[in-house]
Symmetry: C2
């Protein structure tokens, strides 16, 4: 089958169809999304070698869920450790992660996944929308980690695809929210969704209870430290290959909390889509066939691009 | 009156006695403690100019509390902002901080403090013990920020004066606790208090729910990141003049929380002393008269020193 394979460089590579283990399903991929993490992998992040891609929608071809249109959680736990027992297989120390760590990903004609990782897509959710289940789940993870209420003031630093989804998901709490970004076109898209926006500048200080950093840029963290109130919380969504620097005096004296935040649960994300509570279709900048993967990755890195999808 | 004054360098300087405002007391200082923050100030931390020192015990000479033996909270708030109204004057944006920021400190014959900052020392607590109210309060602050239970595993990185007090205070929760340090003599003192200890090395990983970083050394944070479990919490007590670097991927992927922690409330700290729940007298390495301040600061910086006190 055709795959987009990373081994020091990206290439279209033909490999055998994956073998289905007990309790797994074989899924035919329909659409898959290129994420910032995929781009970071092509720069050496995680030292990954294999088929990349972890955002997808597909149809089960073999297994108990045969015929279902599905999406899949990307972390595959050992099933027996303390984390897995608590339903936190995404923190299992022996986990693999689809397309990121020790397991082939979704930029392929087929993948296999354990049935416990698979969720049926509601009928009123399109294929294109379903690809966004993973980033919506990652946004909802923030609300599982911190309690944002209608009294809260929240800033989102970043106007890219994650920023757009995170701002929408956090707005559902009823809090005051503002998205800070650099790209006027992208900020206008947020304004259309009735989300306040502002161009990033150095003058805004100490105003927010919560600041979500998803700019994908090390400078975003500096901005977040300026925006957060004493005793406020910064939620870190961006990962970088290079280390971050920060002023400990500010963090200690103002008792700031910095919170790493990664993947979330799929079921609540699908409910938001089913109930039309987040809008994602406008985020698709272009859809490329898998054979045009080089063009697709180039396009994904462009300044004005939001989401690029691959059609298998 | 004699003071230890910092203005680009430390010196013994005679300045007028401070003027008492309405609602304040004039306090004659008996004993004061040299803290890591005082040493950092002499390196330029906070750009402070004035009388340094913020850990003290004294006798009220003028004011409503006349004759009482007292200690005092170091943050002086505006009294009217949202933080002050919530009892969090230590986060008031217009605050001054005794001996650290915009207000003269306790290495002096006299200081003035608002009465709301002053707490009477219980009779069974010695002068020497009372000087430790501030670092005990700062240790208790951790327990107000995170919920450590008997099920928790907690590591303290740092065997200095703060490490010794923090380890004792956290042990009161009933959790499993281990202090990691580099100084055998200091670790032995902790062992005498039935606190597990270990020499810092690079091999210990992913074991603790909570890690308190109070080593006063930027490398301590690296250690803390190695010691903390996925989804665990690092409590930062050390402040440095230089910025810290860290690996965001670890923090985001493992959803680590990093929490700055500073000053705490004095009343609970005095209760721990009154109820003999923390031991602090063994931490006093030496007491110097104020005139020997140069010797005292030199001694405070020595590897094996724990706490140095100044007698006014």
């Amino acid at each position: 089958m055709k795959t987009i394979f990373y081994e020091k460089k990206l290439e279209l590579r033909d490999i055998p169809e994956p073998l289905m283990k007990k309790g797994e399903s074989l899924i035919k991929i329909l659409l898959a999304g290129i994420c910032k993490t995929d781009i970071e992998i092509t720069k050496g992040y995680m030292n990954f070698k294999g088929v990349i891609g972890h955002e997808f929608v597909g149809i089960v071809e073999k297994g108990e869920l045969k015929g279902k249109r599905v999406v899949g959680e990307i972390n595959i736990g050992c099933g027996v450790c303390d984390f897995c027992k608590k339903g936190l297989s995404r923190h299992c120390i022996n986990r693999s992660v689809m397309g990121i760590y020790k397991r082939d990903g979704a930029f392929a004609e087929y993948i296999t996944l354990p049935d416990v990782n698979i969720y049926t897509v509601p009928d009123n959710v399109s294929d294109l929308e379903a690809v966004f289940t993973e980033p919506i789940a990652a946004s909802l993870e923030i609300l599982e980690q911190v309690k944002i209420t209608p009294d809260s003031r929240t800033a989102v630093v970043g106007d890219g695809r994650m920023g757009q989804i995170i701002a929408q998901v956090i707005k559902l709490t009823g809090c005051y929210i503002k998205d800070y970004g650099k790209n006027k076109k992208k900020l206008e898209l947020l304004e259309k969704l009735n989300i306040n926006t502002d161009i990033l500048c150095g003058n805004i200080k100490n105003k927010y209870d919560f600041v979500v950093e998803c700019s994908g840029n090390p400078k975003g963290f500096e901005t977040a430290l300026n925006l957060v109130k004493p005793r406020g919380k910064i939620i870190l969504k961006s990962t970088f290959v290079s280390p971050l620097k920060f002023d400990t005096a500010k963090v200690v004296v103002d008792e700031i909390t910095i919170l790493g935040s990664r993947c979330g649960r799929f079921q609540p994300a699908l409910r938001l889509l089913e109930n039309r509570l987040v809008k994602v279709d406008y985020l698709v900048s272009k859809v490329f066939p898998i054979a045009q993967y080089i063009k697709a990755f180039k396009y994904a890195k462009k300044k004005d691009t939001l989401k690029v999808l691959l059609k298998m």
